[in-house]
């Protein structure tokens, strides 16, 4: 049943992006989706709902904290905030990802270059 979450991303990518967004500033779920879409310039198509299981996982791992607050649009929303552990995890994940990306890039590089 878990497989029904449709993701074109590799596991953990969404979590990594969420943490990156939250590092910039604490924000709520809807805004997070919009930010990711905007920042990636719509290169990444994310099913909006898939954000929430990811957020729950981050909450459970205590990489983020959540607090109810009133949004600028005067709406009761849950604001997510990066924790120290979350920041550390992000750093680790990003460096791992960069190394992986580098590796993949080298393999995919055109011959002779």
């Amino acid at each position: 049943m878990k497989k029904t979450v449709k993701r074109d991303l590799f596991p953990g990518a969404l979590e990594m992006m969420i943490l990156r967004m939250l590092k910039r500033q604490p924000t709520h779920g809807y805004a997070l989706v919009q930010q990711i879409k905007r920042t990636s310039q719509d290169l990444l198509v994310i099913e909006e709902g898939s954000l929430y299981p990811a957020l729950q996982r981050l909450l459970k791992e205590e990489f983020v904290k959540a607090e109810w607050d009133i949004s600028p649009a005067n709406r009761r929303v849950r604001i997510y905030k990066l924790t120290a552990a979350g920041a550390k995890h992000l750093e680790h994940e990003v460096s791992t990802f960069e190394r992986m990306l580098e590796g993949i890039t080298r393999v995919l590089a055109p011959e002779g270059s």
């Binding site: 049943m1 029904t4 979450v5 449709k6 779920g29 809807y30 099913e47 709902g49 898939s50 929430y52």
Partner: protein, 893 residues
């Protein structure tokens, strides 16, 4: 404790999640509306882009749960709900399981307590019985206890061994305690130094015997059993140091053993030191049980070698008196056969208990088969539900697990009920169990029994759940959805499993019934055996012992016994009275000695065959109802005149002289200085050791003999023939009669000969009852199984039968068709069962008597009986099938 907090916070978490998602959707809708989209369309669009809200919520929630555990609890709840919804199914299934498990748990309790648990001594695995055999000594081969130890052997072994930490010898007996209340005969165990040390159980009060107590002619000391201490002294600790009169000799109480303590297999009231007089010992006197504690790490084989090494030392160190050859015992070929003490205690009861355990296990299998059948019917009824669940995405594994959890729950609940019933069952078993069952008072339900019951419940749950689960949770249930609600005729394959179960049940029931049948035949054969006494229900027996210190002079002992007989004979309702050193089957240790015939030649050192001997009073034979085959009985005047007369058993007469009448006038004696005794009578063979054992050859001496060792028999069983036997008023008069002769004489082992007889066949009757119960349960369960399957088949085939009838089939044909099907199943089961029984009954050969393990009559009769009952069980559903109204059957769809 994080997970605990999570568990409690979970409800709030879920609520917040829903709220958050709703807020997300709202925000999106607002934005789209603000961009100019109509609200309706905006809402749809928002949802589309968000994805499946329910699924996402579930996935988000799942982050916080342990899915497998929660699924498990869901299945448990689901199963419980199912059970409540089907009270009839649940009751029948639970009862079947509970009774099956209770029977198994109860029998296992006995097996565990008697066979598996270590003995109640510290480091019991080091304890051994110093068993030895003497194949060269004719007559001794009959000894179940082998060649017992003589005191000189004990000293040799104790002083020269290299493999034992400690060893000692002991002997059970009886003694008269006087001066407390009424004179009382108590059970005693006399022990040498080393016995208590070997067993290693510290006293509850006071001290053990020390070497000081073992000095001959030292002031006597005695220890009490816990039970005797409570009973006679109210558990008073001040008894230590008090004197009591044991066999008219004062003995000082030095200690009390703790509750439950026994000497190997002997219950006792008092224990006293043997106090051997070392200086007067000879080689012979093989009357003592030896026990020892092995040094850590030493094996039984090493200990046997050690004893073999010491036997020559023993023969060199002692003699049988001047002029005798100590190495005569080399011809006896004495061989140590040391065995674990536990084996000594358990004896041959192991086989019996395992047979019972096996049969009751088979009953459990039959019960499981029945529950499997029930579950299959139920799962079939739930096909639609299962198909819907599969269609909704439940995986195959998930459904199988769910079904298995339900059946295991059934097993476990049945197990809990079963344990409750088992407590009653154990009490029942102990009550009907042979009273000579070893370790009877140790039988109790313990942790191991509960563990066994738990595992059994679990396994049975899995066993009867597996077939339905695997069969009905198969993928491809689309057809089930389509055909739901239509009673199509069920496929052959589906009947296959059910038929297989019935065949198995019939086969197993047949095996158990054949075993029970063989036991019934055994029992009947035993009842036909002439035990050597008549009308045991009118034979009152009791033990009276006259100690040395009470009456020293041998003739006075006999005169006292004679006086008691006269008083008893004068009691109202007494036909006759007599006494003997013991009655057949009483289980007292028998006396054996070499018997020489005057007209036979015994070469030099050769020892004459050992014969069992007894002393009997005039009038004993008439009282006991033992037949005189030839010659005559001795008279009292011959007894007092010390006339050298003797009687022998018929088989001994035939062995020595060919015919009973040829024995009359021949002469016998025990040892060379004894006068030759004339054989004046031949007595019928008596089943001395029980109905199943061959009657031994016996020499019957008068109660008073010219014998330097034991001129008068002091411990005797008095036998009274009277219709009033065993009544309270009669026993009061008997006691008064005895005490009018000597008020210091206690009466012990007061019972009728019938009780002795019943006790001697207790093992057989216990097996019979147990196999009977198991067989009856198997038969009932098997028949229920056949009935259920046939009924179900008929109900499933109603439509088909309806069509047949509509097409012109006669109801008689239908009846026949169903009966034939039932008969086919039963016959296959019977065939398999006979095959299995052929192999299995051989295992119980030792329990059988007068009937072969492959007794054709039993096999045929039981098979026919089973077939008949099975057909009767099929007849009811068959009749129902024949009465099907074709119109109703076809229309009800």
């Amino acid at each position: 404790m994080n997970w605990l907090k999570q568990l409690f916070a979970r409800r709030r978490l879920y609520r917040e999640l829903s709220e958050e998602i709703q807020s997300h959707l709202d925000e999106k809708v607002e934005e789209l509306v603000a961009d100019g989209m109509p609200r309706e369309e905006a809402m749809q669009s928002a949802r589309r882009e968000f994805g499946n809200v329910g699924l996402i919520e579930e996935n988000s929630r799942e982050v916080w749960t342990w899915p497998s555990v929660e699924e498990f609890f869901f299945d448990v709840r689901y199963g419980l709900r199912g059970m409540r919804r089907n009270p009839v199914f649940t009751t029948v299934a639970l009862l079947t399981v509970a009774i099956g498990i209770a029977a198994n748990a109860a029998v296992f309790t006995v097996v565990n307590s008697v066979l598996l648990k270590p003995l109640n001594y510290p480091k019991a695995e080091e304890l051994v019985s110093l068993h030895q055999i003497a194949p060269g000594a004719e007559g001794l081969a009959d000894f179940e206890s082998g060649l017992l130890l003589s005191p000189s052997m004990y000293f040799t072994y104790a002083e020269h061994n290299q493999t034992f930490q400690s060893l000692g010898v002991w002997i059970p007996g009886t003694a008269n305690v006087t001066g407390l209340a009424e004179p009382e005969q108590v059970r005693t165990v006399a022990v040498s130094d080393g016995v208590l040390q070997t067993l290693g159980v510290p006293p509850a009060v006071g001290r053990w015997f020390s070497q000081v107590d073992q000095v001959p002619n030292a002031p006597g000391s005695v220890m009490l059993s816990y039970g005797y201490w409570r009973r006679r002294f109210g558990g008073d600790r001040a008894v230590i140091g008090r004197n009591i009169m044991v066999d008219s000799q004062p003995r000082e109480i030095v200690g009390v053993m703790p509750p439950g303590f026994r000497f190997v297999d002997s219950e006792f009231d008092l224990t006293a030191p043997l106090a051997f007089d070392r200086g007067k010992l000879i080689l012979a006197g093989f009357g003592f049980h030896g026990i020892a504690r092995l040094k850590p790490g030493r094996t039984i084989a090493e200990a046997n070698a050690d004893i073999s090494r010491m036997l020559p030392i023993w023969m060199d160190s002692w003699s049988n008196g001047p002029g005798s050859n100590p190495h005569i015992y080399e011809t006896w070929k004495i061989t140590p056969t040391i065995r674990p003490l536990k084996q000594e205690v358990i004896g041959n009861v192991g086989e019996l208990l395992w047979v019972v355990m096996g049969t009751i296990g088979v009953v459990m299998l039959i019960a499981c088969a029945n529950v499997t059948n029930l579950l299959m019917v139920r799962v079939e009824a739930r096909q639609q539900e299962l198909a819907v669940r599969t269609a909704l995405g439940a995986g195959w594994a998930r459904i199988v697990t769910g079904l298995l959890i339900e059946s295991v729950m059934l097993g476990l609940i049945g197990g809990v009920l079963g344990v409750g019933l088992a407590y009653a069952g154990v009490r029942f078993l102990v009550a009907i169990g042979p009273s000579n069952l070893p370790r009877l008072n140790e039988i109790a339900i313990d942790a191991r029994t509960l563990e066994f019951t738990f595992i059994l419940s679990l396994l049975s749950g899995l066993l009867f759940g597996l077939i339905p689960a695997l069969k009905y949770a198969q993928p491809g249930t689309g057809s089930a959805l389509q055909s739901a609600g239509r009673t199509i005729s069920v496929s052959r394959e589906r009947h296959g499993a059910r038929n297989l179960l019935v065949v198995g049940q019939v086969a197993m029931a047949l095996v158990l019934l054949i075993c029970a049948g063989l036991m019934i035949r055994t029992f009947a054969a035993l009842r036909k055996v002439d035990p050597g006494f008549a009308e045991p229900q009118h034979l009152q027996v009791m033990r009276i012992s006259i100690p040395d210190l009470l009456i020293t002079e041998p003739e006075r002992v006999t005169r006292t016994q004679n006086a008691i007989l006269d008083k008893l004979a004068a009691t109202q309702g007494v036909k006759s009275a007599g006494f003997a050193s013991d009655m057949p089957m009483e289980g007292f240790d028998s006396d054996w000695d070499e018997i020489f015939a005057k007209d036979k030649v015994y070469s030099g050192d050769l020892i004459a065959p050992l014969r069992l001997y007894k002393n009997i009073s005039p009038g004993f034979l008439r009282t006991a109802g033992t037949r005189l085959v030839a010659g005559r009985e001795m008279t009292w005047s011959e007894v007092y005149a010390l006339r050298p007369v003797v009687m022998v058993s018929e088989n001994l007469a035939r062995e020595m002289w060919g015919t009973p009448s040829a024995a009359i006038g021949k002469y016998l004696r025990e040892y060379s200085n004894m006068p030759w005794h004339e054989v004046i009578g031949v007595i019928q063979d008596v089943r001395e050791k029980g109905l199943q054992e061959k009657a031994p050859e016996i020499v019957y001496w008068p109660p008073l003999v010219q014998n330097r060792f034991a001129p008068a028999v002091r411990t005797t069983t008095f036998v009274i023939r009277s219709e009033r036997a065993a009544t309270e008023s009669f026993m009061n008069e008997v006691r008064a009669a005895v005490w009018s002769v000597n008020s210091n004489l206690p009466l012990a082992s007061v019972r009728t000969m019938e009780e002795v007889y019943d006790k001697s066949i207790a093992r057989i009757s216990f097996t019979l009852v147990m196999l009977g119960i198991a067989g009856a349960m198997a038969l009932a369960l098997g028949i229920i199984g056949i009935y259920c399957v046939m009924s179900y088949t008929v109900s499933q085939r109603k439509r088909e039968i309806g069509i047949r009838l509509a097409l012109g089939a006669q109801s008689g044909n239908v009846l026949q068709m169903v009966l034939k099907q039932g008969a086919k199943l039963t016959l296959v089961g019977v065939a398999i069962g006979i095959g299995a029984a052929f192999g299995l009954t051989r295992l119980m050969t030792h329990l059988l008597f007068g009937v072969a393990a492959h007794d054709p009559l039993t096999f045929v009769a039981v098979a026919a009986l089973l077939l008949l009952i099975a057909l009767l069980a099929c007849y009811i559903p068959a009749r129902r099938a024949a009465l099907v109204n074709p119109m109703v059957a076809l229309r009800c769809e």
